[in-house]
């Protein structure tokens, strides 16, 4: 109790110095929580969007399909098995290579045939339900930018059917969609499945079959091999893991700055209050009691900072959680799943866990300089003689 009283009196006596320390520490608190929340929000968003727009509840791949080997595409297709015919549960996609000629420029693309009325993936395929002479196509905004195609533009598509005969036709851009998942956007265009099957002379065939998120399956249907989230999200998870490690390093750096601020304040305080400490010890205060006063004093900085951060930080973080954080333009073109606006996620565990760690470590860094006092001779301390 005595330690608390003395620590409180010293903090109040510190005036502006105390205010600045508390303010800086509260700012560190806030930045640590905000940064971790942003990373957590990104993790959640990237995973959710990738599942909703690309992966679904899992995918069946034709045994010859290898997403990293476009050369294998000519052999990677097969008749959709009877077991996987339900339109509510399964979404067949046929993939083929082609060349487009936007304004006469030559550009290789992947054609993806998809059912226009599908509801399994969050891709606006309803725009493909057009009864026009040209092939209706939709494409992502990155692909549109890259090929300089705009809504309602016409572009010539040249492909080879399954037998190898060249064919070409004009396509009309029916819609340009924005997506957080670059892998479903860059270098590809979507068209009605039936149209692509006709173009390729592959009636009733597909390359992959996406399963809806409600269906839980884990069985292969030869030659279709089931790939679950552990396989389909492996790359994303690994990337996010790297982000988590970087996030922890950042978190540690911010924490270190807070520690240095406390440590510095405590060292300076001890240096300035040598005579006071000497007198206290001469009057009968034990060394342990003195250490406790300084440790409590440092910890109180942390508590005050936490309270201050809660006062001005709560509305700020709430605003960010609701309205999101605008990501600089071009970040999504690096090939990672990132939206234009990222919504941080501040969990109960994150806020209170961070507060606990900061308070605990603040107590430790306050204790360390105070420990030196135990070695101090009271007469030397009263005389102001440095040890």
């Amino acid at each position: 109790m005595l330690a608390l009283k003395l620590a409180y009196r010293n903090l109040v006596g510190g005036g502006l110095r105390t205010c600045l320390n508390v303010l800086i520490l509260s700012f560190s608190f806030l930045v640590i929580i905000w940064h971790r929340g942003l990373m957590l929000g990104w993790d959640r968003q990237a995973r959710t969007d990738t599942i909703n727009q690309q992966v679904g509840g899992g995918q069946y791949w034709h045994e010859n399909y290898d997403p990293f080997d476009p050369l294998a595409l000519t052999e990677a297709h097969g008749i959709i098995p009877e077991k996987l015919q339900s339109k509510e549960k399964y979404l067949p996609i046929l993939v083929a290579q082609a060349t487009i000629y936007p304004e006469g420029r030559v550009q290789s693309v992947l054609l993806k045939g998809i059912e226009p009325s599908q509801k399994i993936l969050a891709i606006p395929t309803e725009h493909l339900e057009l009864n026009i002479e040209e092939i209706p196509v939709i494409l992502g905004s990155r692909m549109a930018k890259n090929s300089k195609l705009k809504l309602n533009d016409f572009v010539t598509v040249r492909w080879r059917d399954a037998k190898g005969i060249f064919d070409a036709a004009d396509a009309k851009v029916a819609h340009i969609f924005t997506t957080d998942v670059p892998i479903i956007d860059m270098g590809q265009i979507y068209l009605p499945l039936q149209k692509l099957q006709e173009m390729m002379q592959l009636r009733g065939e597909a390359t992959i079959i996406v399963v809806n998120q409600e269906t839980t399956i884990a069985h292969d249907v030869p030659p279709w091999l089931f790939k679950d989230h552990s396989i389909l999200l492996k790359d994303l998870d690994e990337y996010l893991k790297m982000g988590t490690i970087e996030g922890i390093i950042m978190w540690f750096i911010l924490l270190l700055l807070a520690w240095i601020a406390i440590f510095d304040t405590q060292v300076l305080s001890i240096f300035r209050r040598q005579k006071e400490i000497g007198t206290d010890i001469a009057l009968g205060m034990t060394r342990g009691q003195v250490i406790r006063v300084f440790t409590v004093e440092g910890t109180m900085y942390g508590i005050l900072a936490a309270i201050l951060a809660a006062i001005y930080g709560t509305p700020l973080l709430y605003y960010q959680a609701v309205n999101g954080y605008a990501i600089p333009e071009g970040t999504g073109e690096m090939g990672i799943a990132i939206s234009d606006v990222m919504y941080p996620y501040f969990s109960f565990g994150l806020v209170f866990g961070t507060a606990f760690v900061v308070l605990l470590t603040t107590a430790i860094v306050s204790y360390l300089p105070a420990r030196r006092i135990s070695k101090m001779n009271p007469t030397d301390a009263i005389r102001g003689k440095l040890q």
Binding site: Q97, E103, R105, T156, A168
Partner: protein, 247 residues
């Protein structure tokens, strides 16, 4: 009375001309006799007219039948030493030091343009027989490049022929397709080639100077010159092996 006489003469002349036109199969056979060879070693030059200027690539090619071909780039210095080996439907490209790497090209990549030209890897190594690949019919006669030509329409016999339909203008005297249009299955014009200069060697007529134009792209086309060709050669088999790429 005089008008009827003139019209009658015109009909008679036309009938005589039509009677002289050989069958489409005969024309294709004669084209094959000129264009298809068992083996040959040739030196050629390709001038690619791009939007930012022209590029010239010189090469030497060893060919055997329709399945085997080896091409080595001689210039420019940057490309010199690069080799392409084609066997059936596979193609390997070797790039010399510093990469010293062989990459395999097959499937769709075979249809990609060679170094930004209007020719695909398939076009450059093609030595297939027209009569084996296409059903043909004679549409009539026309004069192009001041040469009398038969006009033929070719439709693919098999499913695995790159161009479903072709229209060719065949020099009546030399039996070379002076002009050719290649169409997609949908009827869209994909490629146009013209033979601007020919030469005769070993009893066969062969193109000296050709132009290729990808009709879907806005490029300026590619010119192709055969500088020399030797049909009387016996090319050893090892030339068409992957090991020969690094020699």
């Amino acid at each position: 009375m005089k008008k009827i006489e003139v019209f009658g003469n015109f009909l008679l002349f036309s009938a005589m001309l039509m009677a002289q036109i050989p069958s489409a199969e005969e024309i294709l056979k004669k084209i094959d006799e000129n264009m298809v060879f068992d083996q040959a070693i040739s030196k050629s030059k390709m001038v690619i007219h791009g939007r930012i200027g022209d590029r010239t690539i010189e090469s030497k090619a060893w060919s055997k039948g329709n399945d085997l071909a080896m091409v080595e780039y001689l210039s420019p210095a940057r490309e010199a030493g690069t080799k392409m080996l084609k066997t059936a439907d596979k193609l390997w490209i070797y790039t010399p030091e510093p990469t010293d790497r062989i990459i395999t090209i097959s499937g769709h990549l075979l249809r990609q343009s060679v170094m930004g030209s209007d020719l695909s890897y398939e076009d450059i190594t093609d030595n297939s027989s027209m009569i084996e690949s296409y059903n043909a019919k004679v549409l009539g006669t026309e004069t192009i490049f001041e040469r009398n030509c038969y006009v033929l329409e070719l439709v693919a016999k098999k499913d695995d022929i790159s161009y479903y339909k072709r229209k060719i203008w065949v020099d009546v005297e030399r039996m070379l397709p002076l002009k050719e249009e290649r169409f997609a299955k949908s009827g869209k014009l994909l490629k146009k080639t013209e033979i601007l200069e020919v030469f005769q060697q070993d009893g066969r007529w062969y193109p000296r100077h050709m132009t290729f134009k990808d009709m879907l792209s806005r490029g300026e086309g590619t010119e192709y010159f055969i500088n020399s060709i030797d049909f009387n050669v016996d090319i050893p088999e090892y030339i068409f092996t992957k090991a020969a790429l690094r020699r």
